[in-house]
């Protein structure tokens, strides 16, 4: 049974709160880019992806590659809340000997489909998985979440050519278009606009949407699934730090430490 949009919004809120708790406990990590991805990840893990949390390595499962790997807390929270592992594990994030490494490690964490870390590399991995699926006659789809700043990496565009050239309609990339990167505004550092047009010229089916509106996201994912012969890109307009007003659109919160006081304030703002 599918969750309702209201339920999905509730899930995203829980993920956001988990993110803040993990970052408080860890004393380091990336709040802004984790919060901006929460709705996308909620929609993927609670509705869009064909997965079985009780069988994490089920061969037919849809795959997810977190190319913007610094948003690991958002993914870990989703996996824990979907039952891949105990929610209490979240409190060990970034600590010595934890299953939850700073950047996802598939050998340590159940539910991670690919170990990732260095920005720019995820879409190539997604392409490889998608090509293998086609060769093996499997119907699983591959989702890949990319940061907008991350698309400044050259490998992203090499991969974009590969997906289109091979007609990988089982690849769906999502760009978390929050217009911020580590040092500030993407358009002031290395302008990306018009980003949708760039991907269209690369022969992708591009769907522009509000990345915090679960209904729009659901629509975008189902449109992507219906496209044949081409990879799809969901260009999701988001806000870095979404849900916590003092973090929103503030590049400092890319990787600033969440302190006890600010944590209380942030959690209050969420609810």
């Amino acid at each position: 049974m599918s969750p309702t949009p209201t339920e999905l919004r509730g899930v995203a809120k829980v993920i956001r709160r988990d993110i803040l708790t993990m970052l408080l406990e860890a004393g380091s990590g990336h709040p802004g880019g984790s919060l901006s991805a929460a709705d996308i990840i909620a929609v993927l893990y609670w509705e869009v992806m064909n997965i079985r949390p009780d069988r994490p390595v089920w061969e037919e499962r849809d795959r997810f590659v977190l190319s913007k790997a610094h948003a690991a807390p958002a993914l870990y929270a989703a996996l824990a809340r979907r039952g891949y592992f105990d929610v209490r594990e979240l409190l060990t994030f970034r600590k010595l000997k934890s299953k939850l490494q700073g950047f996802p490690d598939m050998h340590k964490t159940l539910g991670i489909d690919a170990s990732v870390g260095s920005p720019g590399q995820g879409l190539s991995i997604a392409n490889g998985l998608a090509i293998a699926a086609k060769r093996d006659g499997k119907s699983f789809r591959v989702y890949c979440l990319i940061g907008d700043g991350e698309t400044q990496e050259g490998q992203v565009w090499e991969a974009a050519m590969t997906s289109a050239h091979h007609g990988l309609d089982n690849v769906c990339a999502i760009i978390d278009r929050n217009r911020m990167m580590g040092d500030g505004d993407t358009e002031k550092i290395a302008a990306l606009a018009p980003l949708g047009d760039k991907w269209r010229t690369f022969n992708w089916h591009v769907i522009e949407t509000d990345g915090h509106d679960v209904e729009q996201l659901l629509g975008a994912f189902s449109e992507a699934a219906s496209v044949k012969g081409k990879p799809s890109l969901i260009l999701a307009r988001t806000v870095k730090g979404k849900g916590v007003p003092f973090m929103e659109n503030n590049p400092e919160w890319h990787d600033k430490k969440v302190t006890e006081d600010l944590y209380e304030e942030a959690v209050r703002a969420l609810s």
């Binding site: 004393g27 490494q101 700073g102 950047f103 040092d183 990787d255």
Partner: protein, 340 residues
């Protein structure tokens, strides 16, 4: 020789600072002195040590975005046009992601580009294995004409930065973002390519580079109480490697331990082993480093301990190498007796 020109690190109160702060001060000093330098960063100005420089000299600074490869290629062009360029990114992104560009454009052209690996070694701490830069020294060392320097603290980092601006050809400077003890002072001698003896001793030589020089000094103090006399050498320049120094250590102390905050394959230990094997006098040696594995999440200090890179781990490697040395001496005596 006493520990001349070294900071007082007898107490735990040693001052702590990220070595990238020294990089920042070096860059600022160069610009203030009117050197025509250009500093580049790839979306890490917040943490790599270029933040203050960006504020003070915006026309000498360029943040190119998440484009490490393009940054280093662009630096090559700037260098061709006569500029002295400093490019800044994570150690592993310079040494890994941009390695081919450094090799085929910068080294092949012997261009004057200074490559600064920030947040290297285990500094990335809690971020874990994918981000920690353990292999950078080894892979940069293999590049033709590349100079590789690993400063021990922020004071030395500043000297290395300024020296790099005068060193012809490419230089790789490796910095830590973790706050680490300051062991040197403005007066401590620093010459690129020349290892410095920081503490005299006769039983064994410890050759260290980077933030673990401090740990090597502590290990030496600890072992003094056990009657073991340890010589400590800061080998900040891993390439060109100071072979003359190592031959001397081999003859004078007869045993060597190397210590580095990185992979035990191909780094300082590798350089030292290559040199020793070729002076025709192989001696007992131990390489203290991280053995063929990725790092993992944890605090920097915790990780140093976890991987045996604190004074405790170094002291046990020293005891082991001394057993090897004693066994060797015994074997030699027995051989002599037999041949008589």
């Amino acid at each position: 020789m006493a520990e001349m020109g070294l900071a007082d690190i007898h107490h735990n109160a040693a001052k702590l600072e990220a070595t990238s702060r020294g990089y920042e001060r070096g860059l600022i000093e160069l610009a203030e002195r009117g050197f025509d330098i250009i500093v580049m960063d790839a979306d890490l100005a917040g943490s790599s040590g270029t933040g203050e420089f960006r504020k003070r000299f915006p026309d000498r600074f360029m943040d190119i975005g998440l484009c490490e490869q393009d940054m280093i290629g662009t630096a090559a062009g700037l260098a061709l046009a006569g500029k002295c360029v400093f490019v800044t990114t994570h150690g592993m992104l310079a040494a890994g992601k941009a390695w081919d560009i450094i090799r085929s454009t910068i080294c092949y052209g012997t261009l004057n580009v200074n490559i600064c690996g920030a947040d290297a070694g285990l500094s990335a701490g809690a971020a874990g294995g994918s981000r920690q830069s353990l292999e950078d020294v080894a892979v940069m060392r293999t590049l033709t004409g590349m100079t590789v320097v690993v400063p021990a603290d922020s004071v030395e980092a500043k000297k290395a930065t300024i020296a790099a601006s005068r060193t012809p050809g490419p230089v790789y400077l490796r910095f830590a973002s973790a706050r680490v003890p300051i062991v040197t002072t403005d007066l401590t001698p620093f010459t690129m390519g020349q290892a410095e003896v920081y503490r005299q001793g006769d039983d064994v030589s410890v050759l260290a580079c980077g933030v673990v020089v401090y740990e090597a000094m502590r290990a030496a103090r600890k072992l003094e109480d056990e009657g073991i006399s340890v010589r400590v050498i800061n080998c900040h320049t891993v390439k060109p490697f100071d072979r003359a120094m190592v031959s001397r250590m081999a003859v004078e102390t007869g045993a060597i331990v190397t210590v580095e905050e990185g992979a035990s394959i191909g780094g300082l230990g590798g350089a030292c082993a290559e040199a020793l094997a070729q002076v025709g006098r192989p001696i007992p040696m131990k390489i203290v480093g991280i053995e063929d594995r990725f790092g993992e999440s944890g605090e920097h200090e915790e990780l140093l301990l976890h991987f045996g890179l604190t004074s405790r781990g170094i002291a046990s490697a020293i005891r082991e190498v001394l057993i090897m040395k004693a066994n060797g001496a015994r074997g030699a005596r027995e051989e002599e007796t037999r041949s008589r």
